[in-house]
Amino acid sequence: MMMSNNLIALHDICVYHHVEIDFIQSLEDFGLIKTTTQKKLTFLSFDELMKLERYVRLAKDLDINLEGLHAISQLLSQVETMQNEISTLKAELNHYKQFN
Protein backbone atom coordinates (compact mmCIF):
# COMPACT_ATOMS: atom_id res chain seq x y z
CA MET A 1 0.00 0.00 0.00
CA MET A 2 1.49 3.32 -1.07
CA MET A 3 0.65 6.55 0.64
CA SER A 4 0.98 10.08 -0.61
CA ASN A 5 3.71 12.38 0.73
CA ASN A 6 6.41 9.83 -0.12
CA LEU A 7 5.39 7.32 2.57
CA ILE A 8 5.77 3.62 1.89
CA ALA A 9 4.02 0.96 3.95
CA LEU A 10 6.37 -1.15 6.10
CA HIS A 11 4.60 -4.31 5.01
CA ASP A 12 5.42 -3.62 1.34
CA ILE A 13 9.04 -2.97 2.20
CA CYS A 14 9.34 -6.25 4.13
CA VAL A 15 7.89 -8.20 1.21
CA TYR A 16 10.05 -6.49 -1.38
CA HIS A 17 13.34 -6.72 0.50
CA HIS A 18 12.67 -10.08 2.20
CA VAL A 19 13.28 -8.66 5.65
CA GLU A 20 11.48 -9.34 8.90
CA ILE A 21 9.54 -6.52 10.48
CA ASP A 22 11.53 -7.20 13.69
CA PHE A 23 14.69 -6.18 11.86
CA ILE A 24 13.18 -2.80 10.96
CA GLN A 25 11.90 -2.36 14.51
CA SER A 26 15.37 -3.13 15.87
CA LEU A 27 16.87 -0.54 13.53
CA GLU A 28 14.40 1.96 14.90
CA ASP A 29 15.23 0.98 18.50
CA PHE A 30 18.87 1.72 17.69
CA GLY A 31 17.86 5.12 16.34
CA LEU A 32 19.03 4.20 12.84
CA ILE A 33 15.73 4.83 11.08
CA LYS A 34 12.47 6.54 11.94
CA THR A 35 9.06 5.13 11.07
CA THR A 36 5.81 7.06 10.83
CA THR A 37 2.45 5.80 12.02
CA GLN A 38 -0.79 6.92 10.40
CA LYS A 39 -4.18 5.37 11.08
CA LYS A 40 -2.55 2.43 12.90
CA LEU A 41 -0.34 1.63 9.89
CA THR A 42 3.43 2.06 9.93
CA PHE A 43 5.28 3.71 7.08
CA LEU A 44 8.74 4.81 6.10
CA SER A 45 9.46 8.05 4.33
CA PHE A 46 11.44 7.96 1.11
CA ASP A 47 14.61 9.25 2.81
CA GLU A 48 14.30 6.66 5.58
CA LEU A 49 13.79 3.94 2.98
CA MET A 50 17.13 4.87 1.40
CA LYS A 51 18.76 4.40 4.81
CA LEU A 52 16.97 1.11 5.41
CA GLU A 53 18.07 -0.28 2.04
CA ARG A 54 21.67 0.51 2.90
CA TYR A 55 21.38 -1.28 6.27
CA VAL A 56 19.74 -4.29 4.62
CA ARG A 57 22.58 -4.53 2.09
CA LEU A 58 25.23 -4.26 4.78
CA ALA A 59 23.51 -6.80 7.01
CA LYS A 60 22.97 -9.30 4.19
CA ASP A 61 26.21 -8.84 2.25
CA LEU A 62 28.60 -8.53 5.15
CA ASP A 63 26.77 -10.16 8.06
CA ILE A 64 26.97 -6.98 10.10
CA ASN A 65 24.93 -6.93 13.28
CA LEU A 66 22.95 -4.02 14.67
CA GLU A 67 25.81 -2.73 16.82
CA GLY A 68 28.03 -2.76 13.74
CA LEU A 69 25.41 -0.96 11.67
CA HIS A 70 25.14 1.68 14.36
CA ALA A 71 28.92 2.24 14.37
CA ILE A 72 29.01 2.33 10.56
CA SER A 73 26.17 4.82 10.45
CA GLN A 74 28.02 7.21 12.74
CA LEU A 75 31.29 6.86 10.85
CA LEU A 76 29.60 7.35 7.47
CA SER A 77 27.93 10.45 8.79
CA GLN A 78 31.37 11.80 9.78
CA VAL A 79 32.75 10.87 6.36
CA GLU A 80 29.89 12.70 4.66
CA THR A 81 30.45 15.81 6.77
CA MET A 82 34.15 15.77 5.95
CA GLN A 83 33.53 15.18 2.25
CA ASN A 84 31.12 18.11 2.17
CA GLU A 85 33.66 20.25 3.98
CA ILE A 86 36.38 19.26 1.50
CA SER A 87 34.07 20.02 -1.40
CA THR A 88 33.26 23.48 0.03
CA LEU A 89 36.92 24.21 0.71
CA LYS A 90 37.89 23.11 -2.80
CA ALA A 91 35.23 25.41 -4.27
CA GLU A 92 36.54 28.30 -2.14
CA LEU A 93 40.11 27.54 -3.13
CA ASN A 94 39.20 27.53 -6.82
CA HIS A 95 37.43 30.84 -6.32
CA TYR A 96 40.59 32.44 -4.84
CA LYS A 97 42.81 30.84 -7.49
CA GLN A 98 40.94 32.84 -10.13
CA PHE A 99 42.36 36.03 -8.65
CA ASN A 100 45.98 34.82 -8.68
Partner: protein, 295 residues
Protein backbone atom coordinates in the same frame (compact mmCIF):
# COMPACT_ATOMS: atom_id res chain seq x y z
CA UNK B 1 42.23 -9.43 -23.02
CA UNK B 2 44.39 -9.67 -19.90
CA UNK B 3 44.61 -12.73 -17.77
CA UNK B 4 43.07 -12.00 -14.36
CA UNK B 5 44.57 -13.70 -11.36
CA UNK B 6 41.57 -14.29 -9.10
CA UNK B 7 43.78 -15.78 -6.40
CA UNK B 8 45.85 -12.61 -6.33
CA UNK B 9 42.74 -10.44 -6.14
CA UNK B 10 41.61 -12.32 -3.02
CA UNK B 11 45.22 -12.56 -1.76
CA UNK B 12 45.09 -16.36 -1.66
CA UNK B 13 47.36 -19.26 -2.52
CA UNK B 14 46.22 -21.66 -5.19
CA UNK B 15 45.79 -24.32 -2.54
CA UNK B 16 43.28 -22.20 -0.59
CA UNK B 17 40.34 -24.05 0.89
CA UNK B 18 36.70 -23.02 0.43
CA UNK B 19 36.80 -21.66 3.95
CA UNK B 20 39.92 -19.58 3.16
CA UNK B 21 38.18 -18.17 0.08
CA UNK B 22 35.09 -17.30 2.07
CA UNK B 23 37.14 -15.58 4.76
CA UNK B 24 39.25 -13.65 2.23
CA UNK B 25 36.15 -12.55 0.33
CA UNK B 26 34.40 -11.38 3.49
CA UNK B 27 37.46 -9.46 4.61
CA UNK B 28 37.87 -7.62 1.31
CA UNK B 29 34.13 -7.10 0.82
CA UNK B 30 34.01 -5.35 4.20
CA UNK B 31 36.82 -3.10 3.05
CA UNK B 32 35.50 -2.21 -0.41
CA UNK B 33 31.70 -2.50 -0.08
CA UNK B 34 30.14 0.47 -1.99
CA UNK B 35 27.97 1.40 0.99
CA UNK B 36 31.08 1.80 3.11
CA UNK B 37 32.92 3.81 0.47
CA UNK B 38 30.62 6.61 -0.65
CA UNK B 39 31.82 8.57 -3.70
CA UNK B 40 34.75 6.20 -4.24
CA UNK B 41 34.81 4.79 -7.76
CA UNK B 42 38.06 2.97 -7.13
CA UNK B 43 36.54 1.00 -4.25
CA UNK B 44 33.46 0.25 -6.33
CA UNK B 45 35.64 -1.19 -9.12
CA UNK B 46 37.66 -3.19 -6.65
CA UNK B 47 34.46 -4.57 -5.12
CA UNK B 48 33.34 -5.81 -8.54
CA UNK B 49 36.68 -7.57 -9.02
CA UNK B 50 36.42 -9.21 -5.60
CA UNK B 51 32.90 -10.41 -6.38
CA UNK B 52 34.03 -11.80 -9.68
CA UNK B 53 36.96 -13.61 -8.09
CA UNK B 54 34.72 -15.02 -5.36
CA UNK B 55 32.15 -16.04 -7.93
CA UNK B 56 34.68 -18.25 -9.65
CA UNK B 57 36.76 -19.55 -6.79
CA UNK B 58 33.92 -20.38 -4.41
CA UNK B 59 32.28 -22.61 -7.02
CA UNK B 60 34.22 -25.89 -7.34
CA UNK B 61 33.18 -26.40 -10.98
CA UNK B 62 34.19 -22.93 -12.09
CA UNK B 63 37.34 -23.02 -10.04
CA UNK B 64 38.36 -26.26 -11.68
CA UNK B 65 37.85 -24.75 -15.10
CA UNK B 66 39.70 -21.60 -14.16
CA UNK B 67 42.61 -23.56 -12.71
CA UNK B 68 42.79 -25.66 -15.84
CA UNK B 69 42.51 -23.01 -18.54
CA UNK B 70 43.06 -19.71 -16.76
CA UNK B 71 46.82 -19.47 -16.97
CA UNK B 72 47.20 -20.99 -20.41
CA UNK B 73 44.94 -18.48 -21.96
CA UNK B 74 46.40 -19.19 -25.42
CA UNK B 75 44.58 -22.56 -25.40
CA UNK B 76 41.46 -20.84 -26.63
CA UNK B 77 40.58 -23.64 -29.03
CA UNK B 78 40.24 -26.13 -26.27
CA UNK B 79 38.17 -23.68 -24.26
CA UNK B 80 35.85 -23.01 -27.18
CA UNK B 81 35.38 -26.74 -27.71
CA UNK B 82 34.45 -27.15 -24.09
CA UNK B 83 32.02 -24.22 -24.18
CA UNK B 84 30.36 -25.66 -27.28
CA UNK B 85 30.02 -29.01 -25.60
CA UNK B 86 28.48 -27.32 -22.59
CA UNK B 87 26.00 -25.42 -24.74
CA UNK B 88 24.92 -28.67 -26.39
CA UNK B 89 24.48 -30.23 -22.98
CA UNK B 90 22.28 -27.36 -21.82
CA UNK B 91 20.18 -27.37 -25.01
CA UNK B 92 19.48 -31.04 -24.40
CA UNK B 93 17.92 -30.14 -21.07
CA UNK B 94 20.85 -31.03 -18.92
CA UNK B 95 20.86 -27.66 -17.15
CA UNK B 96 24.12 -27.99 -15.27
CA UNK B 97 25.84 -25.45 -13.09
CA UNK B 98 25.69 -22.51 -15.51
CA UNK B 99 22.05 -21.68 -15.40
CA UNK B 100 22.13 -18.26 -17.05
CA UNK B 101 19.52 -15.61 -16.61
CA UNK B 102 21.88 -12.91 -15.35
CA UNK B 103 23.53 -10.20 -17.35
CA UNK B 104 27.29 -10.38 -17.58
CA UNK B 105 28.02 -6.72 -18.12
CA UNK B 106 29.43 -6.22 -14.62
CA UNK B 107 32.02 -8.94 -15.11
CA UNK B 108 35.29 -8.64 -16.95
CA UNK B 109 35.75 -9.77 -20.54
CA UNK B 110 37.98 -12.46 -19.14
CA UNK B 111 35.15 -13.81 -17.00
CA UNK B 112 32.65 -13.68 -19.87
CA UNK B 113 34.99 -15.53 -22.22
CA UNK B 114 35.77 -18.14 -19.66
CA UNK B 115 32.30 -18.81 -18.36
CA UNK B 116 30.05 -17.46 -21.10
CA UNK B 117 28.17 -14.17 -21.31
CA UNK B 118 27.47 -13.72 -17.67
CA UNK B 119 26.15 -17.24 -17.30
CA UNK B 120 28.34 -17.89 -14.34
CA UNK B 121 26.43 -16.09 -11.64
CA UNK B 122 24.96 -18.21 -8.95
CA UNK B 123 21.74 -17.23 -7.26
CA UNK B 124 23.63 -16.92 -3.96
CA UNK B 125 25.07 -13.56 -5.00
CA UNK B 126 22.62 -10.70 -4.80
CA UNK B 127 22.89 -7.69 -7.10
CA UNK B 128 24.37 -4.54 -5.55
CA UNK B 129 23.00 -1.15 -6.24
CA UNK B 130 25.69 1.28 -7.41
CA UNK B 131 26.86 3.87 -4.96
CA UNK B 132 25.04 7.15 -4.68
CA UNK B 133 26.78 10.36 -5.67
CA UNK B 134 26.43 13.66 -3.84
CA UNK B 135 26.96 17.02 -5.47
CA UNK B 136 26.62 20.61 -4.26
CA UNK B 137 25.16 23.30 -6.49
CA UNK B 138 25.77 26.95 -5.71
CA UNK B 139 22.92 29.33 -6.58
CA UNK B 140 22.24 32.95 -5.82
CA UNK B 141 18.82 34.10 -4.64
CA UNK B 142 17.82 35.34 -8.09
CA UNK B 143 18.73 31.95 -9.63
CA UNK B 144 16.45 30.24 -7.13
CA UNK B 145 13.61 32.65 -7.94
CA UNK B 146 12.95 31.22 -11.40
CA UNK B 147 12.68 27.71 -12.79
CA UNK B 148 15.73 27.16 -14.95
CA UNK B 149 18.01 24.47 -16.36
CA UNK B 150 21.64 23.89 -15.48
CA UNK B 151 24.23 21.42 -16.67
CA UNK B 152 26.41 19.77 -14.06
CA UNK B 153 29.46 17.60 -14.51
CA UNK B 154 29.34 14.71 -12.07
CA UNK B 155 32.17 12.17 -12.24
CA UNK B 156 32.90 13.19 -15.82
CA UNK B 157 29.28 12.82 -16.91
CA UNK B 158 27.18 15.80 -18.02
CA UNK B 159 23.84 15.96 -16.28
CA UNK B 160 21.25 18.55 -17.30
CA UNK B 161 18.74 19.30 -14.59
CA UNK B 162 15.74 21.53 -14.18
CA UNK B 163 15.81 23.53 -10.97
CA UNK B 164 12.27 24.43 -9.92
CA UNK B 165 11.69 27.95 -8.66
CA UNK B 166 11.57 28.25 -4.88
CA UNK B 167 14.24 25.71 -3.90
CA UNK B 168 15.50 26.26 -0.38
CA UNK B 169 19.03 26.59 0.90
CA UNK B 170 20.25 23.11 1.87
CA UNK B 171 17.44 21.35 0.01
CA UNK B 172 18.40 18.08 -1.69
CA UNK B 173 16.94 16.58 -4.84
CA UNK B 174 17.44 13.05 -6.05
CA UNK B 175 18.12 12.04 -9.64
CA UNK B 176 17.51 8.30 -9.87
CA UNK B 177 20.04 6.25 -11.76
CA UNK B 178 22.67 8.99 -12.12
CA UNK B 179 25.01 7.41 -9.54
CA UNK B 180 27.69 4.77 -10.07
CA UNK B 181 26.82 1.65 -12.05
CA UNK B 182 25.57 -1.28 -9.97
CA UNK B 183 27.53 -4.45 -9.38
CA UNK B 184 26.29 -7.95 -10.23
CA UNK B 185 23.66 -6.52 -12.52
CA UNK B 186 22.34 -4.27 -9.77
CA UNK B 187 20.69 -0.94 -10.41
CA UNK B 188 22.81 2.17 -10.76
CA UNK B 189 23.01 4.45 -7.74
CA UNK B 190 21.34 7.84 -7.48
CA UNK B 191 22.63 11.37 -7.64
CA UNK B 192 21.75 13.70 -4.77
CA UNK B 193 22.13 17.41 -5.45
CA UNK B 194 22.23 19.82 -2.54
CA UNK B 195 21.47 23.47 -3.22
CA UNK B 196 23.58 26.09 -1.50
CA UNK B 197 21.88 29.45 -1.93
CA UNK B 198 24.07 32.42 -1.17
CA UNK B 199 22.62 35.36 0.73
CA UNK B 200 21.58 38.45 -1.17
CA UNK B 201 22.70 41.84 0.18
CA UNK B 202 19.30 43.42 -0.42
CA UNK B 203 16.67 40.68 -0.33
CA UNK B 204 16.47 38.58 2.84
CA UNK B 205 14.50 35.36 2.49
CA UNK B 206 12.54 33.73 5.30
CA UNK B 207 10.66 30.74 3.90
CA UNK B 208 8.69 32.13 1.00
CA UNK B 209 8.66 35.70 2.29
CA UNK B 210 11.17 38.38 1.35
CA UNK B 211 12.24 41.25 3.60
CA UNK B 212 13.86 44.48 2.39
CA UNK B 213 14.59 47.92 3.79
CA UNK B 214 13.90 51.09 1.81
CA UNK B 215 14.84 54.67 2.56
CA UNK B 216 12.42 57.56 2.34
CA UNK B 217 13.10 61.20 3.24
CA UNK B 218 11.48 62.97 6.17
CA UNK B 219 9.17 65.02 3.98
CA UNK B 220 7.73 61.97 2.20
CA UNK B 221 7.28 60.24 5.56
CA UNK B 222 5.45 63.25 7.00
CA UNK B 223 3.49 64.42 3.99
CA UNK B 224 3.14 61.19 2.04
CA UNK B 225 4.21 60.53 -1.54
CA UNK B 226 5.35 57.87 -3.95
CA UNK B 227 8.37 55.61 -4.15
CA UNK B 228 9.58 53.17 -6.80
CA UNK B 229 10.82 49.97 -5.16
CA UNK B 230 12.75 47.17 -6.80
CA UNK B 231 11.38 43.68 -6.14
CA UNK B 232 12.65 40.30 -7.36
CA UNK B 233 9.96 40.49 -10.00
CA UNK B 234 10.68 44.02 -11.29
CA UNK B 235 9.96 47.55 -10.10
CA UNK B 236 6.74 48.63 -8.40
CA UNK B 237 5.46 52.12 -7.63
CA UNK B 238 4.19 52.43 -4.07
CA UNK B 239 2.02 55.07 -2.47
CA UNK B 240 3.39 56.17 0.87
CA UNK B 241 0.70 57.43 3.23
CA UNK B 242 1.31 60.65 5.18
CA UNK B 243 2.59 60.12 8.69
CA UNK B 244 4.55 56.97 7.83
CA UNK B 245 6.56 56.05 10.92
CA UNK B 246 10.25 55.02 10.88
CA UNK B 247 10.69 51.20 10.92
CA UNK B 248 7.05 50.66 10.05
CA UNK B 249 6.49 47.79 7.63
CA UNK B 250 4.43 47.46 4.49
CA UNK B 251 3.37 44.05 3.21
CA UNK B 252 3.00 43.41 -0.52
CA UNK B 253 1.01 40.24 -0.90
CA UNK B 254 2.28 37.78 -3.50
CA UNK B 255 5.45 39.75 -4.23
CA UNK B 256 7.74 37.41 -2.28
CA UNK B 257 9.42 34.16 -3.26
CA UNK B 258 7.73 31.48 -5.40
CA UNK B 259 6.43 28.48 -3.47
CA UNK B 260 8.40 25.33 -4.42
CA UNK B 261 6.59 23.27 -7.04
CA UNK B 262 3.37 25.27 -6.61
CA UNK B 263 2.81 27.24 -9.77
CA UNK B 264 1.56 30.80 -9.34
CA UNK B 265 1.88 30.77 -5.55
CA UNK B 266 4.18 33.30 -3.97
CA UNK B 267 5.09 34.47 -0.50
CA UNK B 268 4.88 38.13 0.52
CA UNK B 269 7.30 41.03 0.35
CA UNK B 270 7.81 43.04 3.54
CA UNK B 271 9.24 46.55 3.20
CA UNK B 272 10.58 48.30 6.27
CA UNK B 273 10.76 52.08 5.89
CA UNK B 274 13.96 53.78 6.96
CA UNK B 275 13.29 57.49 7.37
CA UNK B 276 16.29 59.62 6.48
CA UNK B 277 16.52 62.86 8.44
CA UNK B 278 17.86 66.00 6.71
CA UNK B 279 21.34 67.19 7.74
CA UNK B 280 23.31 70.41 7.15
CA UNK B 281 20.25 72.62 7.49
CA UNK B 282 20.71 76.30 6.60
CA UNK B 283 19.53 79.08 8.89
CA UNK B 284 16.19 79.47 7.16
CA UNK B 285 15.44 75.79 7.33
CA UNK B 286 16.36 75.68 11.01
CA UNK B 287 13.96 78.56 11.71
CA UNK B 288 11.21 76.75 9.83
CA UNK B 289 11.75 73.62 11.94
CA UNK B 290 11.71 75.75 15.10
CA UNK B 291 8.43 77.30 14.02
CA UNK B 292 7.11 73.87 13.33
CA UNK B 293 8.13 72.61 16.72
CA UNK B 294 6.29 75.45 18.43
CA UNK B 295 3.16 75.18 16.34
Amino acid sequence: MDYIDYYKILDLKKSASIDDIKKAYRKLARKYHPDLNPNNDEANKKFQQINEANEVLSDPEKRKKYDKYGKDWQHADQLDAQQQQQRQYQSQGGGGGYSGGFGGEDFSDFFSSMFGGGAGRSSRQSPFKGQDYNADLQLNLKDAYTTHKQTLTVNGKQVRITIPAGVENGQKIKLSGYGAPGANNGQPGDLYIKFNISEDPKFKRKGNDIYIQEEIDLYTAVLGGEKIVETLNGKVKLKIPEGTQPDSTLRLKGKGFPVYKKADQFGDLYIKWQVKLPTNLNQEQKELFEKLSKS
